[in-house]
Each structure stands twice: as C-alpha cells, then as structure tokens.
C-alpha cells in the first residue's frame, strides 16, 4: 500500500498543479474563487510534497520514490522520475514558495487573473518536473516547459519594459539550452538511451565510443545551458531585466527556483556525467564564480532600484553555489545545496517584501523611501529579519550554507576562500545600507507617512518564510542528513580521480 503510494508520489506532486490549471480553465471569471482555488491547489501540493522528506530513507544513497515506465519506444524515452537528497529539497522548496506566491499576488494581479494563476500552476509543474526527471529527455522537456509560462508571466503581468525583458529572457535561455539538446542527442546517438543512470554507468565503464574526444564539448554544452540559467558571470545580463520587470510572484519563483535549475543541473549532470571534465575545467569556472560573487555584490551596492539590487545580490549568492559545487569537497557541495535552499527562502521573501512596497507606492526606487520604520513597524521587522538571514547572520539560514561553501573552497585553494569570503562582507554592506536608506531616518516623502502596515494576508505570506529561515539556521541537520548521502554519491568519482592522480 505504502509502496504504491511511494511510487506514484512524484507523479502526483508534479502534476497536481497542472491538473489544477486545467480545472481553472473551466472556471467562471470570478477572481476571488480563482485565487482561493489556486491557493488550495498549491497548499495541497505542498502538504503532499512533505511526504517526501518524512518518509525519506536517510543515509541511503541512490534515488528514492523512483518510477520508471516506458513512454515512447522510439526514441527510447522513459517516464523515469526519482529524487535524492538534493532534488527532494528543491521540490519541497518549489511547493513551499508557490502558495506564498499565490498569496502575494492576491491583490497585485487584478487583470486577467485566471490566466495568471493558470500560468503560475503550469510553471510549478514544469519546475518540479525538472528536479525529479531522471530521463534526460524528460528533463529537457520540463526544462523547456518552464520557459513559456515564465516568459508570459513577465511579458503580460510585468512592469514598463516587460516585453523586452520577456523576449530577452526567452531567447537567452532558449539559445543556451539548444547546446544542451545537441549534447543530449549526441549521448543518445551513442548510447541508445536517455536514462541518466544508464548513461552515467556507460560513461564510467568506457562503453561510449568516441567519448574522450567529445567529452569536453558535451560538458560545455550542458554547462552553457546551466550557466545562463544560474547565471554565471558573463551570461547574467538577462537577469536584472527579467527581475525588475517581472511581477512579484514571477520574481519569487525566478530567484527562488528557476535559477536553482542551473546549479542543480551542474551538480547532477556536469559532475554526474563528466567528472574528469569538471575537474579539469574547475579552475576557470571557479574564477567566474568568484567574479560573479564580487561583481554582483559591487553592482548591487550602487543600484538605486530595490528590485535590481536584490537581483544582483542573487548573482552574488548563486556565485557561492557554483563555487561550492566546483570545489569537489563534501563541505562545498553540502554548502552549495544549502545555499540554494536558503537563498530560495530568503530572496523569495525579499522579493515579496519589495512587491508589498510596490503595491503601495508603485515604485522600487530606494530614494523614494526613507524612515519607513515609523509608519510600517511590522513590515520593517520582517524586512530586517530577512535581510539578516540573507546577509548570513549566524543562527539564520544564510550563514550555514555560505560557511560550508567557503570552508570547502578554502580546502580546494585558499585564495578562492579568501576572495569568496569578501562576498559575505559585501552582502552585509549593500543589504544593510539599503535597509538603512529605506527604513531609518526621517520620513522624506509625505505620502510614505500614511502607508498601511502589513495586512493579515501579507503576514500569512511572510511568516512561513521567516520561520523556515530561522529553523534552517538553527537545525541544519534536518536538511543536511538527507543531502549528505546524495553529495557523497556525486563526489565518489572524484575520490577515485584523486587517487588515480596520486597513483601516477
């Protein structure tokens, strides 16, 4: 009984939002009902997804809750899903953020409400699918499927230059994922399967012909698709535009989950399929990550626009993740995964907070605010809490991940750790400085005096994020004991690589 449930669990979690979206299509256009329904569907999905960590066999390596059916016989495509410690938590992160997105869009979306929530739920299905797919084809399918709802969310519900931002977002990621598709097709042509596990073992046992010649190109094909998504330094220019123009819920999912698709992909596919190439290319990738950390932070510092500031801070934080992944140490990968989760929660919350302010004043310009602590004390408290979590204050979620990443980076090469550590300082600078300019001092603009504080609905959206940020900071083992075995599996070939090198 429980086995049958376990087998269909991932299917349920993935497709419940889609089913909700399909039902929504037939709803009459009564906005309130639509919102409530979307909330119920997303909450249901969240509750179901909690089944995964509760019944997860910790300490076991390999994938769990696996389901593997033949979907299409030619080409040999399987409906193969499964999660390990890393992807499981990313799934839960997605289902956790979506209800909050529904809550935060309750009032701010008042036109074409139905379409908005349909797109949001479709996006959720695609995002979860990316994390649970173990068939390369299925993975690519969900990967591309995230693109359309996200681009439409930005392009229809965004702000001023939304069309430009949506098209830029679409084209950047589309072009980059073409390279990944080419690499996937090559692997299929040589191995006759899309199955991640089979391809992995075929590569490890040297059963793929011409692999050594093509491996570097395949590695790069995957890497470029993921690097644009993350985004790694020179490919980052779509991100600030997309974030600034996106509606709040779009930004939350974009920063909270979409960017993690890239880092997850690096962890799963770049490291999983091409360990040697990952090793030999690690140095320049880590340099790019470091540039991202410092550059993102410095640019964030001078942003006059609150949302753009948070967007650049994402570039900086995601730099930590890449740094951790390519350090090939237990601590580094644990930390990278943890930063992914922590960043999802705290930056998601930051975007919600910025959105709440935008709903009241219709601007993100920091100069338009000042002294908001007086009219909006509860809001100011939440904001401070989340800022501190994001900065990496010990006992909050940001600290654990960044600490682990930096210790991993140190072990790899001290200079990486040192430069990376400055990122923590920079983030304190730009976030606290922004906080000071927005909340402290006198109220500089008359309109701000009468701004209403948080409503019950807004608090309902922020409380969960704040609580999770605290719990993640106090009891990281709840998460790490599932992540650890997955990371060990990912690192196993690297230990062999290292011993082989020593043997020489």
């Amino acid at each position: 009984m429980s086995n049958a449930l376990d087998n269909s669990m991932l299917t349920l979690i993935t497709f419940i939002p889609l089913a909700g979206a399909v039902l929504l299509m037939f709803f009459p256009r009564r906005d309130r009902d639509i919102r409530v329904f979307a909330l119920v569907v997303s909450l249901l999905d969240f509750v179901l997804s909690l089944h995964l960590p509760v019944h997860f066999q910790r300490g076991q390596t390999g994938f769990q809750y696996e389901i593997n059916h033949l979907w299409i016989s030619n080409p040999n495509i399987h409906y193969h899903m499964g999660v390990d410690g890393v992807s499981m938590w990313l799934v839960v992160l997605t289902t956790f953020l979506t209800p909050l997105c529904v809550l935060i869009s309750w009032k701010s979306i008042h036109e074409r409400v139905k379409e908005f929530f349909i797109l949001l739920l479709v996006l959720q299905t695609a995002l979860i699918g990316v994390f649970v797919a173990l068939d390369l084809f299925l993975f690519y399918f969900f990967w591309e499927a995230t693109l359309i709802p996200m681009a439409l969310l930005i392009g229809i519900y965004g702000h001023g230059r939304r069309v430009y931002a949506a098209v830029k977002f679409f084209l950047y990621t589309m072009v980059a994922s073409m390279f990944m598709l080419a690499a996937i097709l090559w692997l299929y042509a040589k191995t006759g399967t899309f199955d991640f596990v089979s391809i992995q073992s075929a590569i490890r046992n040297g059963q793929v012909e011409n692999f050594s010649g093509a491996a570097l190109w395949l590695f790069l094909g995957f890497f470029i698709a993921f690097a644009v998504k993350v985004p790694v330094f020179p490919f980052h220019t779509w991100l600030p535009d997309a974030h600034v123009e996106a509606p709040t819920a779009g930004s939350v999912l974009l920063a909270g989950v979409l960017l993690k698709m890239g880092t997850y992909g690096m962890l799963r596919f770049n490291l999983g399929l091409f360990p040697e190439q990952s090793r030999s290319n690690a140095s320049w990738i880590m340099v790019l990550a470091l540039i991202g950390i410092v550059y993102g932070a410095l640019v964030a510092m001078v942003q006059p626009n609150m949302k753009k500031l948070i967007a650049y801070s994402s570039i900086s934080h995601l730099g930590f993740v890449v740094l951790g992944i390519f350090s090939f140490t237990q601590a580094g990968l644990d930390g990278a995964t943890y930063v992914m989760l922590a960043h999802g929660v705290s930056t998601g919350a930051l975007f919600m907070l910025a959105g709440i302010l935008y709903e009241r004043r219709h601007t993100y310009e920091i100069a338009e605010f000042g002294g908001l602590a007086a009219p909006m004390p509860v809001y100011a408290t939440f904001f401070l809490f989340i800022v501190l979590a994001s900065v990496g204050l010990p006992l909050l979620n940001g600290f654990i991940g960044e600490f682990l990443v930096l210790s991993g980076a140190f072990r790899d090469r001290a200079v990486y750790g040192i430069v990376g550590a400055t990122g923590v300082i920079w983030s304190a600078c730009y976030l606290l400085w922004m906080y000071q300019r927005v909340f402290f001092g006198k109220v500089t603009h008359e309109v701000n005096l009468s701004l209403p504080d948080l409503s019950g609905r807004e608090r309902a959206a922020l409380w969960p994020a704040a609580v999770v940020a605290l719990v993640m900071g106090v009891a990281p083992l709840l998460w790490l004991n599932a992540i650890d075995p997955a990371v060990q599996t990912a690192l196993a070939p690297f230990a062999q690589l290292a011993s082989r090198m020593v043997g020489r």
Binding site: N74, P75, A145, G155, V163, V167, V175, A182, L185
Partner: protein, 488 residues
Amino acid sequence: MNNTTDLTQAIPQAADYVRILPEIVLAIFGMIVMVLDPLMDERSSQKTLGVVALIGSLTALIATLFQAQYPGLGFWNMVRVDSFSVFFHFLVAAVTTVVILTSYEYMAVQGIRAGEYYALVLFGALGMSLMSSAVELVLIFIALEISSIATYILAGFRRRAAISSESSVKYFLLGSFATAFFLYGVALMFGATGSTSITVIGDALRSGQIPILAYVGVALMFVGLGFKVAAAPFHVWTPDVYEGAPAPVVGFMSTAPKAAAFAVLLRVMFEADAPGRVWLIWVVAALSMTLGNVGALVQDNVKRLLAYSSIAHAGYLLVAFAALPNNGIPAAMFYLASYAAMNVGAFAVISHISGAGERYVTLEDYEGLGRRSPLLAAMLTIFLLSLIGIPITGGFFAKFYVFSAALQANLVGLVIIGVLNSAVASYYYLRLIVVMYMREAREDVPLPRIPLGLGAALAISLVATIYLGVLPGRVLDYAARTAAEWAH
C-alpha cells in the same frame, strides 16, 4: 492460349483499380463538383459544393485505409501501394479535409465563387496522392503536373486582387520551368539506364559502373523537386506567391504538394539509391535553413513570414535526407506529418483573421489578439510553439528525429547549423506571440465568431499537433516500417 494470357495482362485487373482507389474517388468527386456547379446559383453553391468536396476528401481517406490492406504493385508496375504511399495518401487527404473546412468561411467572406475552387483542390489532391504511389518516372511527372496546374490556378483565386494574379503567374512561370528541369532529368536517367521505372533504375545503378549521365539526371530532378518544396536556392518564388495566394490555399500548398514532392524525392533518392546525394543535399539543406530563417527575421507580413519559415522547414527536412536511409526516412515522414498539422492549423487561424480582401495580414493586425480572442490566440500560439519546436508539440519530435538521424549518420556540422537555426527561428515566431499577448490593439477590430467548419479544422490540426508531440510512437513506428520494407 498465349493470346488469352496476353489479353489478361493487357487489361487492368480489379486489384489494379484498388491500387489507385483514392485517386479514383477524388477524380469522381471533383467531377461531381464541376457538374453541379453550373446547376446552382452562387449563394447555395458555396455550402453544397463545399460539403460535396468534404465528403470526397473523407471518402478518399476511407479509401486509403481500405487500400492499405492490399499492398503491392499495380498497373504494370507503375504504382505501388506500400506503407509509404498509404502514409502520404492519408496525409494529403487529411490536409485536404482541413483545408476544405477552412475554406467555407473564407470563400464566403471573400465573395469568391466556389465551384472550380473545390474541384481544383480535389484534383490537386489527386495529383499529390498519385505522386506518392507512382514508381515510374513518367507517371510521377504526370502526377506532378496534375498537382502543379491545380495549385497554379488556386494561387490566383482572389481574382479581384492584383497581387493574387501576380502570384499565380509567377508560380506558373517558375513552376513550369522547374517541371521542365525534372522532365529533362527523367530523360537523362532514361538515357543512362534504359528505364523509367524506379526499381529498375535502382538495380541498374547498384549493379555496376554509374554513368555520368545518371549523376546529371539526378541533379536535374533534384532541382525540379527542390523548386516544388521551396528549398534554397530555388526558393525565391515562395514569399511572393504565399503573400498573394488565398490564405487557405497557402495552407494547402505549403503542406500537401510539399509532402508529395518530398515523397518523390524520398523514392528517387533512397529507393533508386541515387549517387552522390549526400553532399548535394547537405549544401541545399544548410542554405535553406539559413536563408529561410534569416529572411523571416525582417518580415512584417504574417504570410510572408510563414513563407520564409516554410523554406527553413524544407531545410530541416532535407537534413533527414542527408542522413542514412534507415533513420532518415521515418524522420522525414514524421516531420512532414507534424509540419502539415501545425502549418495548416496556423493558416486556418490566419485565414479567419485576414477578413474580407485579406486586409489584416500584418503583424500589427495581430496586436492584442490575446485579449480580443483568447481562443484563437492560444491556438496560434500552440502552432507557433510547435514550429519553434517546443516540447509536447509535434514540431519538437519532428526536429528531434531529424537531428538524431543526422547525428547517427555523423553529420555533426549539419546538426550544429540546424540547431543554431532553430534558435534564430524562435525569435520571429516569438515576435508574433509577443505581439498577440503583450501589445494592445490599436483599433478594436471586431473578430467574427468562429464558424463550425473552421472550428473543426482548428480542432483537427490542434489534436494532431499535440498527439504527435505527446505520443509520437505510433506514427514513427509506421514510418519506420517503410524503411524496413525498402531495406530488403
């Protein structure tokens, strides 16, 4: 005794007629339409003749299914019914059905007298069907002419628009030039091998020294067919003709005759194992993809945009031709099916929106369509996403099979060109989607309701597009059977 056997051999048997059953059905219904036409006044002719034509194309569809159970050669080895020909018969009949359904509303809105129109559509379909089952070069030429002449006239059917006549004349002049090339190629082939039967030619080419004439013959036939499928560098007519011709006709001639011409190409190139085909096709494929997509980038007229897109798609298709037969044939067939589904669907939407005199065919006219008609916009979006090649649409698997076939044949360079091209292509399709959803309409042009016929046409193309995108297995397996049949 001897005399009787000669006699029985000289008289077609029942089996022979079964082998051309769909063609017979189409011819009969085409003639019924022509006979009924003068007996009716214009008003009632619109509907009645359309329904007769619809019944005709549906009957052809059923005849195809019936015929599928009796594979084999007929008419003294001139036609051959195999899973390949059945596939294309089905495709042509299905496209014809959808086009006829689309035309009801269009003909009424444009005020075009419908009689000859439906007859010509049926005759055109006849020619295209015959092209896919003929295995005799002269018969192929005749079928090609039947199909071409019908489409030349159809292109000029908006008699009141000068641009339509221009399109027709252009198509006719260049088209006859191209068929002349084809015929010349056939003649040279006959000179080189002493036969016009594809199988005999194939055996002759495989058995020994290939005469230089055969190379020239294949090249000339390729030029003729390259024109028909709008492959670069024989593509220059396409945008002008598509712009001028009536929208449903463009939907028709960008899919059915193209599929038929590709069918001939497949027969000629693979079954006859034409010498030196790979590099010829390699160059033409790369050129078509690139010129088509780059040309489409700057178009403001939706019909012209899709004309360039069809050039590009011909290029993707040719990638499959460059690949090895075993994987290339099913890939090309699948591509043709899904391209037909999405393109006919897209043109159905376009002909509905275009309005009287085809006034609304520029990108600007699509502004705010997402709000004015969410249903139409959503459908067109799905067709466009399929043309881009986004998963869960047929267009994705079509590209997928083509590129993996090419990779298995180690044509890595061509695949890279193709992949980069599809990235470029996503830009201009996306532009149309952006215009529909993210711009506001300048003037609120009311859209007519979707009539029953058009609704059915849209539903068929939509279901086909999605079906091919979610469960491509059956169609591909069927196509793969062809490759197996030819491999013996």
